[in-house]
Amino acid sequence: MATPDIGYDSGIEELPKSKTWLGAALEMMRKQPLGAAGGFVVLVMIFMAVFAELIAPYDPEANSFEFMLVGPSTDFLLGTDQFGRDLLSRIIYGARTALYVGFVSAFFGATAGLVLGVASAYFGGRIDLLFQRVLDVFMAFPLIIMALAVVAILGTGTQNVIIAITVPFIPQCARVVRSSALAIREIPYVDAARACGFSHTRIILRHMAPNVMAPYLIMLTSFVGQAILLEASLSYLGLGVQEPTAAWGLMLQGGAEEYAESAPWVAVFPGLAITLAVFGFNLFGDALRDMLDPKLRSR
């Protein structure tokens, strides 16, 4: 039976013809130019992080008192900092730190939120009510204050920063996932699965969780950008990643303000790297949301 021609866009979309990666990428560039630009930035960052040893012209942690605060030149494309370290190399290695912290904390935060949110919706009743109140408490803390509290307990350093960023993400994701899972809970297949005698764990993880993948993925991508920003903020305050590790926020803390006038490149380039990275992840995440959430489509 042919679809009747009703004179305007019927809302039925044609299946994409080409399924190759290149075809999909071209399709995305046409439909979501901003999203594709974001995806490109993300790819460049991943490339920088993975092949840092091959791309970086200098050792990011090597001091050189001969070349302190040298301006951008052919030897040092982005100049050097107050310890004579090459800024370009530190920014390339910094991508590794940012992505590592960003991906790991976003993944664990979103995944823990997914499991807790689905479980809360699945069990319902008093457990759900109690869980909501606990979420209220956690959500009442500003992100940075929650992260600061965790850093105060665990101390600084890359691993602890990851935990500090993961903790405030969990309730955020749990809340969003829970509201989606509440609708799934009412679909008969969940009852069918229970009638089959499956365990709660199995129903939550195998039957319900895969059906709230859309909000999960949306939260996950938005968390990566937020985590990079939060890591930079903590490192800037001196409570995050510690010297001599290359991290963008730390590069701004290391006296960027004192040398701002005489050596503005120290303050400008690392911030530009943070902004571009978060910009890329946000644009990519927005495009992903438009594609995954039909309600927001064509907006």
């Binding site: 901003l34 956690f138 803390f141 006038e261 946000n282």
Partner: protein
Amino acid sequence: MYKYIVKRLLLMVPTLLGAAVLVFALLRMVPGDVCEVRMAGTGLYVDQEAIDTCRENLGMNDPYYLQFFDFIAGYVTFDLGESMWTGKPVTYEIGIRFELSLQLAIMATLVAVAVAIPLGVISAIKQNTWIDYFVRAFSIAGIAMPSFWLGILIILGLLITTQAWFGQPWMPPIEYVSVFEDPLANMSQLIWPAVATGYRYSAVATRMTRSALLEVLREDYVRTARAKGLLERVIINRHALKNALLPVVTIIALEFAFLMGGLVVTEQVFNLNGLGKLFVEAVLNHDFTLTQHLVMLVVAIFVLTNLVVDVLYAWLDPRIRYS
């Protein structure tokens, strides 16, 4: 309506109590305490006896339930105790910094509203044109740009332009003067951090304005307004915008609540002595009393703002009725 407000006020009690338990427990997990930090700061030989007396004086050897009771009882007796670090009353420490933080939060909100609503409206009206793309990129950039970096850039820009124009570099004053005493000095200090945070904050609100307006513009009553031949300007201003602003009000109010305690990083960049800086200092000094009350203040502001937003919602939109 009154019943609803009373119910919500009562529901705040478990949330606040939960926050109190959480912050109390978290602080007790922190290794070390204020006495060790203070002794280590003197750089002298650390006498175990001195640490013990210090702990005894601050009541840190009391059992936890007593300490918790003291903490909560402070809200009933209106005596919040003294800062463990400076020995001055908590209300004094918070009081001298509250005005700055409140003023900064209000100014950042004003900057955000002034930027966000016009941009969001233009972006929605010109949907999918280059203007729309530009506004969207501008607002996503605002979310992506760390406010402390924007702050550094602003200071840098000020130094360079004043150097070029007046021959000597100028920096915003560091000492806070109340707006009622010297409005000019006050503004010259606070306008820059307000812009740095307001831009980021406007970015969120711009996106919200845009998507809310787009949604409203698809409503039937907007079509009716168009059908009867109203000017597009009238449709937007009088029919669509009022309804679209509801979610914008929410997001602006909630961000405002977070600004009161969440300006930690901006205050660091501009060297402002506000609540955020006080919080970082209190945490680093292991000043439990001060940290506890500061966190409770931020949480209380947030929870209260939530309530105000919900009540405002019902007031703005007659379709919403709480029972």
